[in-house]
Structures are given as structure tokens and as C-alpha cells.
Symmetry: C2
Subunit: 216 residues, 2 copies
Amino acid sequence: MTHVVFPLYDGFTALDVVGPYQMLAFTPGVTVSFVAPTPGQVTDECGSLSLAAVGFDDVPRPDIVVVPGGPGTALALAGDLPRWLAEVHQRTRWTTSVCSGSLLLGAAGLLQGLRATTHYRHVDKLPLFGAEPTHQRVVEELDARVITAAGVSSGIDMALRLVELISGRQVAEAVQLWTEYDPQPPFDSGSPEKASIEVNELAASYEAAALAAVTS
Amino acid sequence: MTHVVFPLYDGFTALDVVGPYQMLAFTPGVTVSFVAPTPGQVTDECGSLSLAAVGFDDVPRPDIVVVPGGPGTALALAGDLPRWLAEVHQRTRWTTSVCSGSLLLGAAGLLQGLRATTHYRHVDKLPLFGAEPTHQRVVEELDARVITAAGVSSGIDMALRLVELISGRQVAEAVQLWTEYDPQPPFDSGSPEKASIEVNELAASYEAAALAAVTS
């Protein structure tokens, strides 16, 4: 049994969690837990979705850790999560992140000297933690047992690769088929290079609003 | 304010909900609620994720309804959800579904004479409800105010189109950018035609396991 653990904190981004969750929880032989410093309901950045978490002590030895991002990262950086990550990483098979969750891996000291990615609006912060920033969607540093993914939806792509690492390619392809992950976005503005200047500006304005909602 | 409501039932598929949730909850001016016949925690098909729902009566007039699928559909078809859908649909702007959620729209009588889609393993059941089955990823029947999406991850594509219908294309593109929805699946087996015979068989075997987990 492979135990996948998602550490949660108030102000996480729901899809950062549930995209990878779905791919991994569908995989035979995988069990999933949500953890937090204090057991209880943890609320996402939008304030309208909560997930129940057990305490850090309830899952002392996760095989795989997936750290979500979200505007709450700003507060979580100063909390107990980085220390927990540094501790459990000693024994994980893979320690991974989605979106600004990479910054939490960085604060735990896990990105030192590694290539890494994060949400496109935060890539410039990766060198603070000794990481070499990239704009790849998924960055695998397999020797260091660390995988980072870009913004929000990229966690789905990363998780399919994790399923391959856990159970082999055929199982990963079956999970892709079962979830009909054959994306057909109605527009082509999923990266800052592809989106217009106006769309880039509009998306950037969401950042201030999201941070204000979480820290108010 | 546009009020988007996701009706939940035990055994729903988490990504059917949270994919569209993320796109819609990010959209300025949109508020999201989860509802169920009885208020409380509703658990997904994998048994490891629960969402808190308010009661049907707490949201008497949703603007948009998004019905998720999942193995729990089999039980939900005989519950209170189809009647609620038939009732609220009279005043919604759009009534929509992801995955086998289409069968619940069907049981509510909302697909009669319409083109529709659902999870690829259930497309053959759509004619039971008077619908014309298609294998499109998202099917818009705008005159009837009904939109259906294919399996699990297709709800993300549908929701971006809903954001466009609510707030216009520029906002929808900004949500796509903010969530970095620029998919790069590591494999190309997201539809039955693209996947190998072996992968099709493996994915089909998940169906029995999922149903057993929910109905046991």
C-alpha cells in the first residue's frame, strides 16, 4: 500500500489538491490522507470548500507527499508545515508540490541546488530557496526525490507521472482513460506567453484579490 | 452575483466537482454552494474526501447547477435529486452535468429530445432518457439551457465555457491563465479510441471496483 499525504493549510487552492488526489486515489493500492498541524476542517482560498484533515502525528511516515499551493502559502511559510516537510522528506519516496506549494518545499530546504517550477507568478521567488527556476510544467529531480509542478491544473499532469512511478505506465494510462483526461480547453490562454497582454493583466489582478481574501 | 450550486451525493467523483468549482469560484461575481437532500458531510467514491453541503431548501433558486457524476449515481437516481433538478431547472440560467451526472439530468426529464454526453462507459444509457448520445467532450443545448460534459476531467473544459457565458471571453481566458490550464498529459490515452485495448480493459475493470466500493 502506497500512502499519499496532502498537507493542507487555510487558503489552499482546491484544484491543486483534488486534481492529483483524483488520479492517485483512483490508483489501486494507493491510500490518501489529508493532514494539518491541527486536525479539523481546512478551508480553501475561496472560502466555500473545506476538507477534513487529520493531524501531522496521525500519519508519521507518508510514502508520497503532495504540497498544494494557494494564496495561503504566504502564511503557511511561517507556520509548522516547512519543518514537518523537512522531517518526513527523510523517508518519503517522493516529495512533490503543485503551484506555490513549491515555496513551502523551498522553505523546508528541499529545493537547494535543484531545478524547480511553481505558479508562473512566483517563479522569480525560487532562487530565494536556492532553486534554479524553470518554466517547465513538471520538473523531476528524481535523484533528490523531489518533483515540482507549475500552477494549479499542472498537478494533474504531475500526478499521472506519479502513478506511472508507483504502478507503471499501463495503470497510469488506465487512470487517464477512466478520468477521460483528453483536454480540450475552449481557449488557448493557459500560459503567460499564450495569453494576451489584457488577459495577463486581468489574471494578475486576481492575485491581489486572492491574497486579500485569505489574509483579511 | 451568480450563484452556482453543486448537488452532492455519496459516491460522487471529487474531480467532477472541484474541476468546475475551481474555474467558477475564481470568477469574480460568482458564489458557489454545495447542496444535498440532508445537510452535512458528503463522501466521495474513494471514501477519503468529504465536502460539507447545505440542504436543498437553503438554496431555493440557483442560477447555475452543475451535477457531478460518480459510481454513486446508481443510488442517487432513485433518491430525491432528480425531482429537485426538475424543480430548480425551471428557473436556472444553465443546468449542467459532468460524467455520469448526465444520467441524473436524464432522470429529471431534462434531456428529452436533446443531444448529450456523459462518461464514455455510460453513453449507451442516454437513450433511456430520450437523449441523443454523442461522443463530444462538451455538448451545449443552449435553447434548452442544458450543457453536458463527458467523463471526470471534461468538467474543467465545460466550466471555462460557463465562465465565458457568465462573464465573457476575456475573464474566462484570465481564469484559464491563472489556473495555468495549458494541459500537457504525459500520455495520450484520454479516450477509448486513443488508449490501447489492454488499457481499455484495465480501465473497465475499475468500474466494477468503484461500484462495489460505493454500494457495499
